[in-house]
Assembly symmetry: C2
Homo-oligomer: 588 residues x 2
């Protein structure tokens, strides 16, 4: 155990956290969320910003620090929440920032205070988790350094932060109406990809290498600062840590830097066994640290290229310039940008993903056995004729008006109106290679109640979508936990000895997001040791909106008294106002 971890535990068990001020500090932020005009790819749109910025401000902290964000909702008629992606919220489940799950959405003109400990160094981010507000631009970076006196298990000279996203010109309001409409309207592919909130639409920074493309204004040109090219200044012969996170709405991405190798050292805030690659795949919800050494010809600059994988791309790659100082950034690389690997070369995708393993001597191994296995079949379905949904074990998730954390803790009957809990299995007869024989789905809460400290395996099973010969990539993200990714397989999971043999119990990586490949399955394991109510869902924004998720309710009776602001809506507010206040802190 690292010194900082030990110190954190010591602090945790002393009643007065202030006694730990020397080791960890509280970092306060006052943020206001509002709609504003912005031009991420030089096309002006309404974007959700924080304190007038897009992306939102980067939070930088040290492991063990307490983050305190006073979040004012400056939207006119919309609620808002912010989820701190990858932060486990140990002991503070009400600060997880999921509307309908962990808290009541913050009303316009109201302020909610998020207060939580960032207990583990790593590359994180934050984003909206209500409706599709993430896709409207409500996101930013959250970087946690090692605690003072502690050291990363690798060396580097400098850092570069790359928050990746995709961008649509249709408003999220129009997108949401389309997804809910009958007939269904899909949002299509994004208009552009963004690096740190900036992208190129209808032009290329590398037009010389891109037939038919118009040249975008170069670095340093007078132009719209919102969409000025991203320049990443580096010095020769140094090693840089690139922190890369993806908060795309839809796109699976691939990142490469011309001429440079990338050594993967961190995934989702967990160290991994280092391995070198030419490029990395990064799915929505993923974060990575990769080391890059500036050991190339110092007379040139180099492209950073981010392109689409996993779906047939209709979006041009986003480019940035790795600028070897003291050369001018405006001198664009002479070489063509690295080509994004073929979108449907899933063998290549799997090869990358399978190389991600726990770091020897650092990543703890998983428990040898599990107490429960939940198998979740991901299918695309129809409802009411024209609505298209994503379903889990044939039930599409809908979220309630009253957040689960409050309603379950208060034992409200309205919390789980149906006595039937969702199934732990979808059976063995399902043919994952064909469109669903019966595509009809229903809606439900998809709440799984987990026993405290149970070791839980989840097998995510992919299948064919509604159209023939289509099975999509889905990156699933778990709140409140890291999990071990035990393994992957093609075809249907059978739970037999062969599948068991495919699982890695020796050095699996710890992550918070895991991808399921087309027609395949992914098995994860975690310990239900963090009382709270946690979403587990496909991180593709429209897929979640279409019901692709489940809820894990975990020892809610052990959750401390909830802040009133987290339960000041719906049935919890009604119950508390009716005089049930005495029960608010009670364990039910």
């Amino acid at each position: 155990m690292r010194l900082s971890s030990l110190l954190f535990l010591v602090c945790f068990f002393t009643v007065a956290m202030s006694q730990c001020a020397a080791a960890a500090k509280a970092r306060h932020f006052r943020w206001e969320v509002s709609n504003m005009f912005w031009s991420p790819d030089c096309e002006e749109k309404v974007v959700i910003g924080i304190n007038g910025q897009f992306p939102g401000p980067t939070i930088r902290a040290k492991a063990g620090d307490t983050i305190v964000v006073h979040l004012k909702n400056g939207l006119h008629t919309e609620g808002v929440v912010i989820h701190w992606h990858g932060i486990r919220q140990i002991g503070t489940p009400w600060a997880d920032g999921t509307a309908s799950i962990s808290q009541c959405a913050i009303n316009p003109e109201e302020t909610f205070t998020y207060r939580f400990v960032v207990d583990k160094p790593g590359t994180y981010f934050y984003h909206g988790h209500y409706g599709m507000q993430r896709a409207a631009g409500l996101y930013g970076s959250l970087i946690v350094d090692v605690a003072d006196g502690d050291e990363e298990p690798f060396k580097y000279d400098g850092e570069i932060n790359l928050l990746l996203s995709d961008w649509y010109h249709e408003s999220i309001y129009t997108q949401m109406v389309g997804l809910s409409s009958n007939p269904f309207r899909w949002i299509g592919e994004p208009q552009s990809l963004l690096i740190n909130g900036r992208g190129q639409f209808n032009c290329s920074l590398a037009a010389a290498h891109t037939p038919g493309a118009k040249q975008c204004a170069a670095a340093g040109a007078a132009g719209n600062r919102h969409c000025a090219p991203v320049i990443l200044p580096v010095l020769p012969n140094k090693t840089y840590r690139l922190r890369v996170a993806s908060t795309t709405s839809l796109a699976s991405l691939n990142l490469a830097v011309g001429n440079h190798k990338l050594t993967v050292v961190e995934a989702d805030g967990n160290y991994v066994e280092p391995f070198a690659v030419d490029d990395i795949d990064i799915y929505s919800g993923d974060s990575y640290s990769v080391l890059l050494t500036t050991d190339q010809d110092t007379s040139a600059n180099y492209w950073v290229s981010v392109g689409v994988r996993g779906r047939q791309p209709r979006t041009a790659p986003a480019l940035a310039v790795l600028n070897y100082r003291p050369k001018r950034a405006s001198r664009l690389p002479a070489a063509a940008p690295p080509a994004t690997p073929a979108w449907d070369d899933f063998a290549r995708s799997k090869a990358f993903t399978y190389r991600i393993l726990g770091r020897a001597g650092v990543t703890p191994p998983p428990p040898a056995t599990s107490d429960r296995r939940i198998e979740l079949l991901n299918t695309q379905n129809r409802m009411g004729g024209g609505h298209v949904k994503w379903s889990i074990n044939n039930v599409s998730m809908v979220l309630p008006a009253t957040p689960y954390l409050g309603s379950l803790k208060m034992g409200l009957r309205s919390a789980l109106p149906s006595a039937a809990r969702p199934s732990d299995t979808f059976g063995r007869g399902y043919d994952v290679t064909r469109p669903p024989a019966n595509p009809n789905t229903t809606v439900g809460d998809n709440v799984y109640v987990l026993a405290h400290n149970a070791t839980v395996d989840v097998v995510l099973q992919n299948a064919n979508a509604l159209a023939r010969n289509v099975s999509e990539v889905h990156p699933w993200h778990l709140h409140g936990h890291d999990f071990w990714v035990l393994g992957y397989g093609d075809g249907a999971f059978r739970g037999d000895a062969g599948d068991a043999a495919a699982l890695n119990l020796r050095n699996p990586p710890l992550r918070n997001t895991a991808v399921i490949f087309p027609y395949g399955w992914t098995a994860i394991r975690f310990v239900a040791d963090n009382p709270g109510v946690w979403a587990f869902h496909c991180h593709i924004e429209p897929h979640l909106h279409m019901g692709m998720g489940v809820i894990f309710a975990e020892a809610v009776d052990r959750v401390s008294e909830l802040p009133k602001a987290a339960v000041s809506c719906g049935a919890t507010a009604t119950a508390l106002m009716a005089g049930a206040g005495a029960r608010a802190g009670g364990h039910v």
Copy 2:
């Protein structure tokens, strides 16, 4: 007093309203508000609909009935409320449907029940009253017939309902961001005018008479049903009551019917002394009944034309067809549509407005004297350099997170954070003919506390806007009351004998909306006999959004216990959850 009124009073004073079931009934509606695709002028946009309809369903009731609307919010992340425009909500101020004022906005997936008595026959409508949701299409008609056994003081053979509005192609989200931005962006003129939710954009039904215009598809043509021409079938030699209401966001309108005279008999749910005109002006928030006799050549159809007045028009008139049956509706009138009077012929506008008087023998006269006079100067101002606001006595109204009705009733300190109440006068030195010498404004709550049963005069004083030689029309709408319009004047109100002489205490009309003309003033009188918290504001949606309003808090201690759902947000919810529940019904 009419029989129905007497019966209503009897019912009102019997404790059990159910005893009056024979005379008045409860009408129940289950509505769900949601965003949907719709093409009001054949251009598809996101529109707020009710039960999948735009405009929302028409409510039809009889005087004395109780309306019960179970309103479910089906929007994804936005709150919603509905205001019942013109209904005084006597004894039910929490049902007035004003966010931040009378109730907490209804959260997504929640249902709020509006229950109120429509005590007076007339032509009303309802609309959203949160952010600019009215401008997104959240509106519909509310028609109250006389009670059984009662009669209107005029005769007619049939009815035609015309709900008028204007329509923008920019979403309200974009509009709101522009209005709040620095530099300020004005919303501009509407793209089209709508009659019963249907309009023509980039084409004219009367292209033959409109140089350069493309002919719209005629009635009966296969096309988009959302924007099919409005056909108004009539029989020859009958008298029709046209119920006309305007819920425009911005536009002041004029309505004319080719070849036909219109006799005005009702304004804002109050009878007026009948008078005949060729056309009527109608401002946002107004409603009228006009009688039309189909005494013209039966071999033709006739245009109903609705055009813009009061601002330089950039929007084509909306046309509908008055269809003399059994002629086919598709036979368009051969004559040109009636021309809308010159937009800036304010002498003509005043002449129409000044003719509206209380109906002899029906409209009660006002109290002879008043207890208080509040003078409200309407100015356009700047704040923080680039923001443009509208202000009242130099303070631009902002609305709080916690609605006033709850916070004032519960005596919360947060309700009126400033001890200083807004001024009853702006002084006599202000030059209304020039841009403000000091254009800077501040924001405030603009809450006026009125003594119970006080007779209150309000003088609305118009002035020059920020630009030279500009003074705009503002129709002010009062919630919770009708008022007598005592008179109008040009220039600055001085409060002297000359101004007093201009007031009509003999037969002024009762209304709920009154216009102030450019550079002029309008004086109204009402009795503060309806405990509650009532908005009084310019009914132009962007003007209200820019702060053009005040609040009248009236004997809140006499308001009955508030429904919990009306106070389940903000400081009222916090106080009630903290155990102040016992105080909820208390009078503070």
